[in-house]
């Protein structure tokens, strides 16, 4: 653990710069047309306001947080609510930037925090989400502070205050209302709280862990009970696994960074068809259909999930090959910002002008490549305390595992702040730890990344062509 008690002023200044930059992008982007799930979120918000009840999405049972946020904005300002929602997202991004820097300061010290802040400021794939109607910004604005509080408790030698544990649980519950992804991360974090700091009496560890879980349970139980009342099933917050199983544990290969190109550019062949066959080839007759005959939404989604798992169990070879592909898609230099450029969403704005577009696309595609290389260096080549390593490893591993179901760069977003911290750590403190063994590990990690980028190279080249040239 580094000296983390320096002045907060430089961090606040960097945070303000990052927020200002995001506001500038919001203004320059103008009134973007809805893309994919954006339209779905807006529809859910509008129908909530119109009918007074929150409808499910038939294929998903999305948690209510993000549609509620949009519903409040639209209810208050009608069409102007769209801008208000984005403006609030820009402001909420301050939480992401500030917490990223706090993590970096705790792990590596003040100088690294400044570098992490600078990377966060200019990281285009994150900037993009502040002016899209996807829940990533709001989710991270709650998720990251929750994890930071967990880290502080894990590192507290002199006994942590219960307030922090309660705060961590409440923030994580808030994040769960926006995205249910970390639902199963909660028990893993509780396990860490029970174990760290080492030397803690077992009963005290259990006390902390149970308090954390209770603090999560209290805010999420009402919506779970609401689901029980409406659907007759106890579903904590939401259920998206069934539809994701249909997309990810099924014969056709889908990558949501790519599907939009075919649809919007009216291409005869989507870039998905360029995927190297060995990684995606599947028995075409094995494709399974959704269980449309089941009227109860949680039951239907559970049946879809069961069908997906059954398909995976019956095709172990395909499962192995296709998961390598999913991993490659997870680390590919794709992003929704690049996709927006490629399908012409920014065409009406300054951001879509040829020279600006090319500069931004280059930056957006290089950013994840450089970030991943540096972050791998940070993981293997920097010294950090054991608790931090356990926490980061748990979170990064959990998010990576959940991302192996459906391909798309959006699922990498919860990892990005931690990758920024590691990258900043490597940039400022790389080479000070581990010696030859660390160098070998870094080289091996870079080789793995290079192999994964090679797997996705045909689609990546197509994406570059579309994004560089624009939709027209």
């Amino acid at each position: 653990m580094e000296d983390y008690k320096g002045s907060a002023r430089p961090l606040v200044v960097l945070c303000a710069v990052g927020v200002a930059l995001r506001f500038l992008f919001l203004c320059l982007a103008g009134d973007l047309e809805f893309q994919s799930d954006e339209a779905n979120y807006v529809y859910l918000a509008v129908s909530w306001n119109h009918f007074g009840f929150y409808s499910d999405s038939y294929r998903y049972l999305w948690p209510p947080g993000y549609p509620f946020f949009l519903a409040v904005c639209l209810d208050g300002f009608e069409m102007g609510g769209l801008f208000v929602a984005k403006l609030l997202q820009v402001l909420a991004s301050a939480s992401i930037g500030f917490t990223t820097m706090l993590f970096a300061r705790r792990l590596y010290g003040g100088r690294t925090a400044l570098v992490a802040g600078a990377i966060w400021c200019g990281y285009l794939p994150l900037i993009g989400f502040t002016h899209y109607f996807w829940s990533e910004t709001l989710f991270l604005a709650l998720f990251l502070p929750a994890l930071y509080q967990v880290l502080v408790v894990l590192q507290a030698d002199g006994g942590a205050r219960d307030g922090r544990i309660l705060l961590a649980g409440l923030l994580l519950a808030g994040a769960l209302f926006v995205k249910e992804m970390p639902l199963y991360l909660a028990p893993l974090l509780a396990l860490l709280l029970a174990v760290f700091p080492t030397g803690l009496a077992r009963i005290e560890g259990l006390r902390r862990a149970s308090l954390f879980l209770l603090a999560i349970a209290v805010p999420i139980l009402p919506w779970t009970l609401r689901n029980a009342e409406v659907y007759g099933r106890f579903v904590p917050l939401g259920a998206s696994l069934g539809e994701n199983a249909h997309g990810g544990l099924n014969a056709p290969y889908k990558n949501f960074d790519l599907t939009a190109y075919g649809r919007h550019l009216f291409l005869e062949e989507s870039p998905e068809t360029l995927a190297r066959p060995w990684f995606v080839a599947a028995d075409p007759d094995g494709e399974w259909a959704r269980a449309e005959h089941i009227r109860n939404t949680p039951d239907r989604l559970a049946e879809n999930q069961r069908r997906g798992l059954a398909y995976a169990a019956e095709h172990p070879g395909w499962l192995f090959r296709s998961r390598i592909k999913k991993l490659a898609d997870l680390v590919a230099p794709a992003s929704f910002f690049v996709r927006h450029q490629g399908i012409g969403r920014y065409e009406e704005s300054v951001l879509g002008q040829l020279s600006v577009r090319r500069a931004l696309v280059s930056l957006a595609m290089l950013s994840p490549v450089i970030l991943l290389l540096l972050a791998a260096g940070g993981w293997f080549g920097t010294r950090m305390d054991r608790t931090s390593r356990w926490l980061l490893g748990t979170v990064l591993g959990y998010v990576a595992l959940t991302s192996l179901l459906v391909s798309m760069s959006r699922f990498r977003i919860p990892m990005v702040p931690f990758l920024i911290v590691l990258a900043a750590g490597f940039a400022t403190r790389g080479g000070r730890a581990g010696g030859r063994r660390a160098l070998f590990s870094i080289a091996a990690a870079w080789a793995v990344l290079a192999c994964l980028w090679w797997v996705d190279l045909p689609e990546t080249l197509a994406v570059i062509r579309y994004a560089w040239g624009g939709a027209s």
Binding site: D31, E33, F34, S36, A39, N40, V42, Y43, L44, V46, S47, H50, F51, G52, F53, S55, D56, S57, Y58, R59, Y60, E78, M79, L82, D162, L166, R207, S210, L211, L214, A215, A217, V218, L221, P222, L225, A228, E229, V230, Y231, G232, G262, R263, F266, L267, E268, E292, R295, N296, T297, D299
Partner: protein, 184 residues
């Protein structure tokens, strides 16, 4: 440790847990107390004092999955569309209702009929709710919502004037978009 006496400090450390458990139990108790049986929901749908109450009950009735789905077939849809209140008519275009039966009636008989001329605002709200909903073609959804469509939806909600010509042109363009995609 000995003696089996628990110190006040140790008891105090578990107070937040007790508070949380109390809140959880309170929530469970409230839910059990307010829980409505299928018969109560049915009654609230039939005899609810306000449209909102009726809609709220209908939402549960259609989703709980305990009633015979054949109840929510075409006669039920016709019954909804014959309601006096526009909001009750418009719920016939949601996933809640459309998941029970191929919503051909809503599409061809209702939205394809004379309602556009009769009440453009109600028509447009119904059209957006039906064709732009989340869930795909199974429940009658077409293409995704656009900003212009949302702007007109708000005009329709507040009964502001809408241009039938603009709407017809827009709908035609979107049909062509569907045809183009299907030809891909």
């Amino acid at each position: 440790m000995g003696g089996g006496v628990v110190s006040p400090a140790r008891v105090k450390a578990w107070v937040p847990h007790m508070v949380c458990l109390g809140l959880l139990l309170g929530q469970l108790g409230t839910w059990l107390a307010l829980h409505r049986s299928d018969a109560e929901i049915e009654s609230a749908w039939r005899d609810g004092a306000t449209t909102r109450e009726r809609l709220d009950a209908l939402h549960v009735l259609l989703n709980r999955g305990t009633l015979d789905p054949s109840r929510f077939g075409l006669p039920f849809v016709r019954e909804l569309l014959a309601e006096d209140d526009d909001l009750l008519k418009e719920v016939a275009f949601t996933n809640d209702v459309c998941k029970f039966l191929d919503p051909e009636y809503q599409k061809t008989e209702y939205l394809g009929g004379s309602h556009l001329d009769a009440d453009i605002q109600h028509f447009w709200r119904s059209y957006v709710i039906f064709r732009r909903k989340v869930g795909g073609g199974v429940t009658g959804a077409g293409l995704r919502l656009l900003r212009q469509e949302l702007a007109w939806f708000y005009d329709a909600v507040h009964e502001r004037p809408l241009s039938i010509d603009d709407i017809l042109l827009h709908m035609e363009a979107r049909w062509q978009e569907i045809a183009r995609r299907q030809a891909q």
